[in-house]
């Protein structure tokens, strides 16, 4: 155990701290709405890419900073930005999920073509995975693509496609090999959202905003080279992507930052003239969460150490998403309680402008439930932890009851 940074890492920490101090005022706001990056966010992104605070390890020929992977460096940068409450750059599905997937299993041509514009925020991606009939059972996807005149022709429907209404591209899981078994019949296509035959209908969520969409495909044409790996490899590629999504969803820095905001709020907000931090019942809840955030934070450091050594963390990694999303929800729940009745006025202004603080917390609190469900719901996570992590047997297959006619 040695929590000290090496001289090189200390230098980076100094550098990052200096950077956020000098340029932090240029950062877009963190948290709240999910929308297409505006000019401010794109400028910030450009600055981060130039200085190597974003896409640090992506090869420069693909538009990254081109440094060799050093997981500790990434942690230092993330921590400094998080501590300063400054945006770490654009977080979206293209950057967090598609880019690492292409780096892992894509061709060089695909990396050159897609990664640069994606990390700059010029191309926004959405994820075409779930369907009305296949959510947790993702591999049962029915949306199909047949090859005709050297092109894929896509037909079907996807659901929960967040950001589809402003995305430029979709990574799509669809069935191309109808004669093969469930898992072997899928392919992973890169589909332009402006292709004729795509219809996007907003899906209003409990937050009152259209954060998701239903996406319909009618004879949508996709060039055959816009496939990641080969035909029938879609399930493998989709799982590579899901691995990155689940790592993103359990991020301990987000918890640390949120906890700090909750502490600040409880120090300044009062109930009948008494600071919330001085009211034992609220303070106990805060302290309990602090213990859990600390445990999650050090669990993250432990995983990072194992990753840096090339070790397989097994079940320790599988618990991250379930653990992190639950704590995030409980933290925003505490803040919503501290805001209390005064925090109930709720008119989200949508994607056009910034919401006020209380509305942002209410949205985050509800959105946290979306995160508990998305990327493999909490119940599915528990199956994965139990089966892949602990070696417990799968549920026996049962046949659904016949439809009565």
């Amino acid at each position: 155990m040695d929590l000290r940074y090496s001289a090189r890492h200390r230098a980076l920490q100094e550098e990052a701290r200096g950077f956020v101090k000098k340029y932090g005022h240029l950062s877009p706001k963190t948290g709240g709405g999910r929308k297409r990056p505006d000019a401010r966010a794109l400028d910030w992104q450009k600055l981060l890419l130039e200085r190597g605070y974003f896409s640090r390890n992506i090869p420069s020929e693909y538009g990254g900073f081109g440094l060799p992977v050093d997981i500790m460096e990434l942690a230092i940068i993330a921590e400094e930005f998080s501590n300063a409450g400054v945006s770490p750059g654009i977080m979206n599905q293209g950057i967090s999920m598609l880019v690492p997937t292409l780096l892992e299993v894509g061709t060089k041509e695909q990396c050159i073509r897609w990664i640069g514009p994606t990390i700059r925020g010029d191309i926004i991606w959405c994820q075409g995975y779930s369907e009305p009939g296949s959510g947790s059972d993702l591999a049962a996807a029915k949306t199909s693509a047949r090859v005709e005149d050297g092109q894929f022709i896509v037909n079907g429907q996807k659901i929960w496609t967040s950001s589809a209404h402003y995305a430029d591209m979709m990574f799509l899981l669809c069935r191309t090999e109808s004669d093969k078994s469930k898992h072997d019949g899928l392919s992973y296509l890169l589909v332009p959202m402006n292709a004729p035959g795509i219809e996007v209908r907003p899906l209003v969520t409990m937050t009152g905003r259209a954060e998701f969409n239903e996406t319909f495909f009618t004879d949508v044409r996709v060039p055959t080279d816009q496939i990641v790996m080969g035909r029938g490899d879609g399930w493998h590629v989709a799982n590579v992507t899901l691995k990155y999504e689940r790592m993103l969803l359990g991020d301990a820095n987000k918890l640390t930052y949120r906890l700090a905001r909750a502490v600040e709020l409880m120090k300044k907000t009062t109930l009948d003239g008494c600071r919330f931090i001085d009211i034992p019942e609220y303070r106990e809840r805060l302290l309990k969460l602090q213990g859990e955030v600390m445990a999650s934070k050090y669990h993250g450091l432990r995983l990072m150490t194992e990753q840096a050594k090339g070790e397989d963390s097994g079940v320790k990694r599988l618990i991250v998403k379930l653990n992190g999303t639950m704590i995030a929800y409980r933290l925003s729940s505490l803040v919503v309680d501290v805001l209390g009745a005064a925090g109930l006025a709720y008119e989200p202004v949508g994607e056009a402008a910034e919401d006020d603080e209380a509305t942002t917390w209410q949205i985050d609190n509800m959105y946290d439930i979306g995160l508990i469900i998305g990327g493999g719901s909490s119940n599915i996570q528990k199956n994965i932890i139990g089966e892949r992590g602990l070696g417990l047997p799968r549920e026996p297959k049962s046949v659904p009851p016949a439809v009565r006619g």
């Binding site: 155990m1 931090i277 302290l287 990072m304 079940v315 320790k316």
Partner: protein, 364 residues
């Protein structure tokens, strides 16, 4: 930066676990637990051969001079086997007290004897530890009077250290001296007893060499809390392992019960709670060598969080065993009670969290 155990620490775990696997089977544990003293001569000499007596004693005084993280690793192994042996007070808090508050002569007199396993020192606090029960002590010259309940590792102690309210510590012999009355009772946790001291002008040596006695006492108290958290971690891991094994063997409705989602999800919930606990305990142990504010918050949060997570895991793991879990037959209850005991000693979760709030200056 590296967050994890060293090769040596992994070896320490492995050798202690191997030793206890062999020397402390269930029937032996039951036998020692029946007496309830939390001490067994044979086990103690075996542990001495394992080298843990001198774990916190500096090398100059015949010990190993290891870190508190090494001790936490040992605590986890002892908790894993519900080992009925003195440890937290006798092998961690007592040597740390002598290091922080003893003068050179006192260190020379006592530390080598701790490292050899010759003396076993129980530790009690007159106030400040956050325990319930009577705890008052008064010093008159070198004569100590008072009543201190909830003394740790008092079962077969040869000596005691009692912390006074001002942070100074008093050391005295267990039974031979006039004015010292020691009463030890079997506790809920049959692997460790509860001890009460009644003192009437007992002759004591004052350990008063610390520059800031209160801070020194607090550091020893927090080290003890980290050890109890480590012990709970081991006990909870043990209960989880037993429940996982049981769920893969026990058949109902023609299926092993671990294939039912109700059971599978419970096991997933336990491991999701348990693994981050380990990182918290390791960090808390490591942080005790660092800045005081961070060290305090980490020790207090580790004690509090393990208290709660341990209780929850103990219940869930017992439930998975069904009726058998509730019986004496499996002996699962030894770990359940071990966790319950650790929770109450040196401050229960609510009390520790309040202290953490004060230590971080959230409240005054």
């Amino acid at each position: 930066m590296e967050f994890g155990l060293s090769e040596e620490q992994l070896m320490l775990t492995e050798s202690l676990r191997g030793f206890l696997d062999e020397r402390l089977p269930m029937n032996k544990l039951r036998e020692i637990a029946e007496g309830g003293l939390g001490f067994d001569g044979e086990l103690w000499s075996g542990l001495a051969e394992q080298g843990i007596m001198g774990i916190m004693v500096p090398e100059d005084f015949g010990g190993l001079g290891l870190s508190l993280l090494d001790a936490a690793v040992a605590a986890e192994a002892l908790g894993y086997h519900a080992a009925p042996t003195p440890f937290t007070a006798a092998l961690v808090m007592a040597p740390l007290t002598l290091i922080a508050s003893g003068d050179r002569a006192q260190q020379k007199a006592w530390l080598p004897r701790i490292a050899s396993g010759e003396v076993r020192i129980g530790v009690g606090f007159a106030g400040m530890s956050g325990q319930t029960g009577e705890a008052v002590a008064r010093l008159d010259g070198n004569k100590l009077s008072g009543c201190i309940t909830g003394v740790l590792d008092g079962g077969d102690a040869t000596h005691f250290i009692v912390y006074l309210g001002d942070g100074r510590a008093a050391l005295f012999a267990a039974v031979e001296e006039p004015g010292v009355s020691v009463s030890t009772h079997r506790s809920l946790d049959r692997t460790r007893p509860v001890t009460a001291l009644v003192l009437h002008d007992a002759r004591a040596a004052i350990l008063g060499a610390a520059n800031d006695p209160k801070a020194a006492a607090t550091a020893v108290l927090d080290a003890g809390r980290v050890m109890l958290a480590g012990d709970t971690l081991g006990a909870a891991q043990s209960m989880f392992d037993k429940a996982l094994l049981y769920s893969k063997e026990r058949v109902q409705f023609n299926r092993v019960i671990g294939s039912f989602q109700a059971v599978k999800h419970t096991l997933a919930d336990i491991i999701t709670m348990l693994e981050p606990c380990r990182s918290l305990v390791w960090y808390a142990a490591h942080a005790q060598d660092g800045p005081a504010e961070e060290a305090r918050a980490a020790a207090l949060q580790a004690k509090a969080h393990l208290g709660d997570a341990g209780r929850e895991i103990a219940r869930l793991a017992t439930e998975i065993h069904g009726g058998m879990g509730f019986t004496d037959l499996l002996g699962l209850h030894y770990w359940f009670k071990r966790i319950a005991f650790n929770r109450q000693l040196l401050g229960a979760p609510e009390r520790c969290r309040h202290e953490a709030a004060v230590a971080q200056e959230w409240v005054s």
